[in-house]
Amino acid sequence: MTAEQTGQRVQEALDRLEGLDGDGAGRQAGEQLARDLMDFYHDGLARIVAALPGPALAALLDDPAVAGLLVLHELHPEDTGARIARALAALPEPVELVGFDPATGTVRLRRTRGGCGCSEEDVEAVLACHAPEVTSTVFERAPQLLQIGTRPDTPAGAAR
């Protein structure tokens, strides 16, 4: 299960708790429960990550479950740029990183081949897992060949 799916399930549980009482105490208790468990796991996870030899940790970073967990706990050894590259490398089709703006969270991408190996949703899903800092995507279209004809398909003014 990805961090996003887990978070949505936690949200649903918190919403149900909120429905049980009128004053929000149930929701607060639920949030505290999640915080406490995450803090507990964080402490252990931080020690495991610190103790792992570099190559052993690196070998785990392509696993979406591990990467999502390490990113959530701020224990991932790579910076945002490296994680975006890692996410794109996991796609079945080459997608080129044009740039990432940390201030806006916007990543600009270009498909280097006009293939149909993956959808924009697929790209966004791997980014969500490896680099949740990315909050919006811009796909630049590769220049397309123009059909040069003798006249426009529709005569000027015909649309009126």
Binding site: A3, E4, Q5, T6, G7, Q8, R9, V10, Q11, L14, D23, A25, Q28, E31, Q32, A34, R35, M38, H42, L72, H73, E74, T106, E120, E124, L127, A128, P132, V134, T135, S136, T137, V138, F139, E140, R141
Partner: protein, 215 residues
């Protein structure tokens, strides 16, 4: 070319829950209603703790002997005394190692309790009752002190030893404020500035003894 905004509410929730929890709205210990930051307190004399209380529930505990006397309503009066002063010699006899301390009477154990603010919160010290009696002997402020719920707050500065009668929760508020900014052995400049501000606010609220209205 278009920008696609990615909505990831689940991930955002988990990241938010990894952040330290925001301060919880305080609630009345009796009815569970949320209370404003300026709410009143009761002293639980059995547990020796302060309990937050809403205005309505607080009124129920104002009658002496309510709830078997376990919970005592903390009054709101701040009093100063013009006639009586603790001199340096008397201060020295009290054995207070720091510049700020507060003293109250614990009615259950029938004894004086002396506390100092410090980096770890309040430190309790065994006061010398005889020394206190002689230092405060002529003090009407000490005579007016209500057990458990009011304290004498003492501060020694270059201009002398200042003594105010304040609600006990005010003393714990001071302890909390100092704990956050305490540095080194004596608290440092930041803690001294916090103390100055706090005492200036208290001095502004304090009325001369004898002019206090209803509690």
């Amino acid at each position: 070319m278009s920008t696609r905004r990615l909505a990831r509410p689940g991930t955002a929730l988990l990241h938010r829950l990894r952040e330290p929890a925001p301060p919880q709205a305080e609630r009345c210990a009796f009815c569970g209603q949320g209370v404003p930051p300026s709410h009143r307190h009761l002293v639980d004399t059995e547990e020796q703790t302060l309990t937050c209380v809403c205005t309505a529930c607080g009124l129920l505990f104002r009658r002496p002997g309510a709830a078997g006397g376990r919970y005592r309503h903390v009054p709101d009066r701040h009093l100063a005394e013009t006639g009586h002063r603790i001199d340096e010699q008397a201060w020295a006899s009290l054995g207070i190692p720091v510049g700020t301390a507060f003293l109250f009477r614990n009615s259950r154990q029938d004894r004086l309790v002396l506390l100092y603010p410090g980096p770890g919160g309040a430190t309790e010290s065994e006061p010398d009752e005889a020394a206190w009696r002689s230092a405060l002997g002529g003090s009407r402020l000490a005579a007016a002190l209500e057990p458990d719920v009011e304290a004498l707050l003492l501060r020694r500065t270059d201009t002398g030893i200042h003594c105010l009668l304040v609600p006990i929760d005010t003393c714990y508020e001071l302890v909390g404020r100092l704990r956050r900014c305490w540095k080194g052995f004596d608290g440092g400049a930041e803690a001294r500035a916090e103390l100055d501000t706090f005492f200036a606010r208290l001095a502004g609220r304090a009325r001369p003894l004898g002019e206090d209205g209803p509690r």
